[in-house]
């Protein structure tokens, strides 16, 4: 019905708000329609379409997300990815040779394993006949891995795809400076002693200063935290609001952890260390404590602090995606359908982290749903300020009209359905791996809390964003 309404909306000449309201009232008052609405609260029973294959996520796992520099610090990225794959194999018992394709997302690449998907798959004992590739799209890399898999299945190329993501922030590639690299490469090519000496004579001490990877936009040179602080200021999000939201995230995560709701976590026996059993970044604090922190990016008066930002995290995740008929044929009871998804992108300077605002109405429209149809929202929390700015933007007609070319705002997700089991602020955010966590959280919440539709949304560096509808698989 709502889709009918929105359809009507779109076709109204609508020069004034008044005209809109008056023309809608008779519609919504019409008794037939209301009767229909009472019978069925959801506007759609399912998003299944006869023309498209149903794609399901059978299950998904992740190794515990750890603060970088802790138990995973001596490993390599493919070790984490391997652990996630092994966890998935164990959880689903899927035969290794049934998988048609493996895709992983990652952001900061280890140069030695630039196709980390392939290295991890080989190490996890998958058949060496299964092709694997690695994708990168900043914080939505794992989402990209999953949707790539969805496309492979939907187009009939594959039936079974493993998608995942990995990030190891404990170790990042720190390079020699360009000048030093150039000299070393030239030295390699130099044939005579004279050539070598003349090259070496050009050496200067500043060649030794290293190049560090930064969480900064290449196009604007602005660090993400800095941009988040400006975004929060642009939407007039106060420091207190940000701290409160961050505290909520930690408290909810703590509760979920204690109640054993984070069932996607698998144990990981780290070689030479104890078995890691749970996320270690969940640290509920008090607002007083948080208020004491100094701003981390815009000093001395900014509002984004270490306490209300997601922290550098090590971790990996993986999901098993199949065509529904294949899953059923293999005797699986899938967790959820993966439905419509969108990617969006906008100004990487001033709207760097507004991806969810742009993606949410778009994916809802595509699916023919409204915000009210969604039972579980799983939004990636890069910063408290970013989440709150997105919520304010989604609640603003002015923003929708002036920047999104829409007639009206999409509305704001109710907080009681929003990231109920914690989010990136508290659970951690291994850039390349978060996407799978979001989807599994949505799927698991729908199973646990009831409800049919989940909405996953995330922002990413480069001013990009993503949203996907997850539909609960009938029990």
């Amino acid at each position: 019905m709502t889709s009918f309404l929105t359809y009507t909306f779109k076709n109204l000449p609508s020069t004034s708000n008044w005209a809109l309201r008056s023309s809608i009232r008779p519609l919504s008052c019409s008794s037939q329609l209301r009767a229909a609405a009472d019978v069925q609260t959801k506007s759609k029973k399912t998003l299944a379409k006869s023309s498209v294959r149903n794609i399901v996520v059978v299950d998904g796992v992740r190794i515990p997300f750890l603060l970088s520099g802790t138990s995973y610090k001596d490993l390599m990225p493919h070790d984490l990815a391997r652990a996630a794959l092994l966890g998935l194999l164990h959880r689903t018992s899927v035969p290794k040779d049934v998988v048609d394709y493996i895709i992983f997302g990652t952001v900061i690449q280890e140069v030695k394993t630039s196709n980390v998907a392939r290295e991890a798959a080989l190490g996890a004992g998958f058949s060496n006949r299964i092709p694997a590739h690695t994708v990168t799209m900043a914080c939505i890399s794992a989402n990209q891995a999953m949707t790539t898999g969805v496309c492979l299945i939907a187009s009939g190329q594959c039936d079974v795809v493993v998608a995942g993501g990995v990030e190891l922030m404990s170790d990042v590639p720190i390079r020699h400076s360009r000048k030093m690299r150039k000299m070393m490469l030239d030295l390699n090519k130099a044939k005579t002693l004279g050539q070598r000496l003349s090259l070496i004579s050009k050496f200067r001490l500043n060649f030794l200063s290293p190049e560090l990877p930064a969480v900064a936009e290449f196009s604007t040179s602005e660090t993400m935290g800095h941009s988040a602080d400006r975004l929060a200021a642009a939407f007039a999000v106060s420091r207190l609001e940000q701290d409160e939201y961050a505290l909520r995230s930690h408290l909810l995560a703590k509760k979920a952890q204690e109640e054993g709701l984070l069932s996607d976590v698998v144990l990981f026996k780290v070689p030479g260390k104890d078995t890691v059993t749970q996320d270690n970044g969940i640290r509920p604090s008090s607002l007083e404590q948080m208020a004491k922190l100094k701003p981390a990016f815009i000093k001395p008066y900014g509002t984004v602090t270490a306490a209300n930002s997601s922290f550098l995290t090590d971790g990996a995740s993986a999901v098993l995606i199949m065509a529904e008929e294949k899953a059923l044929a293999m005797g699986y009871k899938p967790k959820a359908y993966l439905r419509n998804f969108v990617y969006v992108s906008q100004d990487p300077k001033d709207q760097l982290l507004l991806g969810p605002t742009y993606a949410t109405p778009k994916v809802l429209e595509k699916a023919g749903l409204t915000l009210n149809d969604i039972d579980a929202f799983e939004f990636h929390e890069a910063f408290s300020g970013q989440i709150l700015a997105n919520l304010k933007a989604m609640d603003s007609d002015w923003f929708a009209q002036n920047y999104m070319n829409r007639k009206a705002k999409v509305g704001v997700p109710p907080l009681e359905k929003f990231n109920n089991w914690g989010g990136s602020l508290s659970l951690g955010h291994p850039f390349g791996a978060t996407g799978c966590r979001l989807v599994m959280a949505a799927a698991n919440r729908l199973r646990k809390e009831g409800g049919q539709y989940g909405l996953v949304a995330a922002c990413a560096a480069g001013g990009q964003g993503h949203a996907m509808i997850v539909e609960a698989y009938p029990k």
Partner: protein, 763 residues
Amino acid sequence: MVASRVIGSLGRFTASRTLCCPGYVCRNFAGSSALLSRTHINFGVKGDVAVIRINSPNSKVNTLGQELHSEFLEVMNEVWSSDQIRSVVLISSKPGCFIAGADLNMLNAFKTSQEVTQISQEAHRTFEKLEKSTKPIVAAISGSCLGGGLELAISCQYRIATKDKKTVLGSPEVLLGLLPGAGGTQRLPKMVGVPAAFDMMLTGRNIRADRAKKMGLVDQLVEPLGPGLKPPEERTIEYLEEVAITFAKGLADKKISPKRDKGLVEKLTSYAMSIPFVRQQIYKKVEEKVRKQTKGLYPAPLKIIDVVKTGIEQGSDAGYLSESQKFGELAMTKESKALMGLYHGQTLCKKNKFGAPQKEVQHLAILGAGLMGAGIAQVSVDKGLKTILKDATLGALGRGQQQVFKGLNDKVKKKAITSFERDSIFSNLTGQLDYQGFEKADMVIEAVFEDLSLKHRVLKEVEAVIPDYCIFASNTSALPISEIATVSKRPEKVIGMHYFSPVDKMQLLEIITTDKTSKDTTAIAVAVGLKQGKVIIVVKDGPGFYTTRCLAPMMFEVIRILQEGVDPKKLDSLTMRFGFPVGAATLVDEVGVDVAKHVAEDLGKTFGDRFAGGNIELLKQMVSRGFLGRKSGKGFYIYQEGVKSKNLNSDMDSILASLKLAPHPEVSSDEDIQYRLVTRFVNEAILCLQEGILATPAEGDIGAVFGLGFPPCLGGPFRFVDLYGAQKIVDRLRKYEAAYGKQFTPCQLLLDHASSPNKRFYQ
């Protein structure tokens, strides 16, 4: 020239009001004015912080004037007498402008230096009160903060600025022949150190916010915000105010110290400056440099040095007194009047008086990727115009593309743009050898070689592929546009756009209209020029238009003078001492001897007697021997890569010797040589106005100064006649006419001005 608005000339106070304005009377004033409601200032209190918002009505910028000053003082008195208020935030409600200085018209209205001095002293009194305020004042700066605006800001206890491109701080007074007259000469050295203060005041340069922070000119930066629940500019100002309020509170609570930690270099500098000997050396050094650069033609820089020196050596009281006196003196100088005239002219030539064009140019095509074509491309792409650069050969095209890239990359090196912005700007440029995409072009500018038949061929080729609405503009320095347009199917769409080399540095654009050029075509060309950041004069078509035509007789005189045996080096020195930025002989080398010859032949034929004087044979022989000027490495001078000092080309001796003429001793003194050059220039310029080539004297002055380097201190040929006296110039011309003949005959309009002394080009 940067020239922006100026100076804290803070409105005239009637003497009576200032005199009878002790404490309580003022409060009465304030009480009653609350009823009158303020027009420039909006005053509110947030907690214990007074927020004073400046917003001059009906103007894009805030200027310090009489009304604003009195309202501001009223409000401040209210603040100081209130028990509730503990600190103050001073902010502008206009995005893009804090305070841009004062209206020059006000300053121009003063008749005596005493009046100007008095205004300066008024400002001193007000700013001293701010400086000594026990309630801390935070200046929240967004947009231009220049002249008096800066002087106001540095009288406050704390400064916060938005870090965007629009926010610039500076003391541009010197560019108008003035000095900072509201305490700037005294406060700036204390704030940023003597060397940096000299640099700011003597160059008048604009300082970006981040640089200002490093210098200690501002204490905090605020990042501009993107869109939120309001337009970005609006929210950014609001945010700036919020941040400023927290700092104002912090200052009042003594949680924040207005003192800044100085870096090591700064500490060392200030230590060095405490040694009298070092100070003397610095004054001497700076003065030497200024004398060398200004050739003693500009009084303002020397006075600035003098006033700063007085303040440091003899104490603030003496410094402020000296500042106000010298400020008054400078305001009455010819140089200041000339420079202010140029400033007004420049503002005028930054407007499109032909109205808004019917169709905005979005796609531009340029024919010819030479120095000119590539230069035009560079100033177009960085303003967002999609530009096609076409040439006939891949090699020439490549050089043009490289020139554009280099121009942009130099900006990256200077940190004016980022490498990413460079790439994104460069993507607006398409280099090609064919006419693909011309069907979408809104305007084609041809910059092919100066040859009429070639231009005809190009015009015909282009007209076959461009849409009906497309404008065809010819970049030529001398070929008459109407002749180029003879082969056009649509002469109303043909116009001349004469750029000056190097295009990215030279501000002037001379637009040439024929009788057939439509008004909309002109409007479009002006709009494009303005977009490219040009100062524009629009002139009628004719041989040499305006600029080339003025320059030509002067160049003939240059040849004559050289033929009379004056050394090129001496000639250069004479012209530069007169105020030209480039010596006359060097100018010929720079323009190119072949180009000069070409123009001289063309115009010589057309104008006959009046362009007599030098023998064109000199240029012909130079061309035949390959002495084409800088581009060929040899002209009057020898040019070598990486060698700065120029040596005379000794091969010229034989050419000069063969064409030698005997000088007329009665008109060959140094001064006479200077005036022979300048009076011919001026006479020709006035003739252009007389003949209607020029529409206004202001455009004539702007064209001469910005395009040809006519001495800025003289304000352009027309201002020069006004200030110097038409009769004196006629006398000189008559004297030279007697010696040389008709080329020096004064034109009728000049004679009219001489015969009626009340007649002026500028009223």
